[in-house]
Amino acid sequence: MNPFVIAGVIGIAFGWTLERAGLGSAPKLAGQFYFTDLTVFKVMFSAIVTAMLGAFWLSRIGILDLSQVYIPETFLLPQLAGGLLFGVGFVVAGLCPGTSCVAAATGRGDGAMVMLGMFAGVLATGLAFAPLRNLYESTARGALTLPELLRVPAGIVVCAIVAMALIAFQFAERLEKRA
């Protein structure tokens, strides 16, 4: 099937699910960072655990060939710096790039404004790219995975992440009750 049709269908499911979770609403997302509403954490890590277990086991039983799936590459310094910046922008805006589209689609003017800001930020950074280029290309590690980095089998990393997530969910429930 046409890859763009697949992209569109997957996108529809993505947008639908985000909206159902309430992640198209900036105040709800921002609550994560004031410990009043930990929906962002719960949705994100449930999704990561589900897809991680799914990818691990489908690959294990031979249905999914992980070598054919694009794994985001590691660039230590840019992703550290970019991550910090992204986090700052996120708590200021209350929406991330994906959820800003959902918010805008449901009529939220602030969602549209976040999209505009994203666009402006990307445009400006691209136009002023020359001084950033060294940082951007630095500390490349290719498709480095946690099992490779830690030199342990993937199964151990998977199990550890599941355990950490389940424990963290317990804490999240208690934190929210106190809020």
Binding site: F56, G62, P72, E73, P153, L166
Partner: protein
């Protein structure tokens, strides 16, 4: 419902500890194999499992055609070219088969606008390419199948 999810995750997570390595066998990239051949890696055997006609038309340097009498010693490092699946410790499949060897070792290409990481890979490929009589080239546009994987790599998410 939450308990069901948590239980399922816990079970699948614990089972992952015992899952061992995934069943896909080890594979080797064409440029790395070219380096192995050039450096005369000990115990290396390149076994081409394609039909005789295809083998006669073109095969890797030092490749042998897989025939019914082909046997492997335990220490052999066997690389199957365009092969099927055999599950054993030292058996590799050439990633991408004969076409990948041709694309990446005999005719490596790069675009002028490629990032440094791609240029380093191209330089490595060019060295072995020339050794085997191949033709590294700088092109305007990558051939489309490789362009797709390269596109995701280049464009990020």
């Amino acid at each position: 419902m939450r308990r069901v999810f948590a239980a399922a995750a816990a079970i699948l997570g614990v089972l992952a500890l015992f899952a061992g390595k995934p069943p896909s066998m080890k594979s080797v990239a064409p440029v790395e194999l070219a380096e192995w051949i050039r450096e005369r890696k000990p115990n290396l055997r390149i076994v081409d499992v394609r039909p005789e006609g295809e083998f006669d038309e073109y095969h890797l340097p030092r490749a042998e055609r897989f025939v019914s009498s082909t046997t492997f010693a335990p220490d052999d490092i066997v690389v199957l070219v365009a092969g099927g699946s055999i599950h054993a410790r030292n058996i590799y499949v050439l990633r991408g088969g004969i076409q990948a060897w041709i694309d990446e070792v005999m005719n490596p290409t790069i675009t002028a606008a490629a990032p440094p990481s791609a240029q380093i890979a191209f330089q490595r490929a060019s060295v072995v390419s020339r050794y085997f009589g191949g033709v590294p080239r700088v092109v305007d546009k990558l051939p489309s199948a490789r362009a797709n994987a390269a596109a995701v790599r280049r464009r990020g998410c």
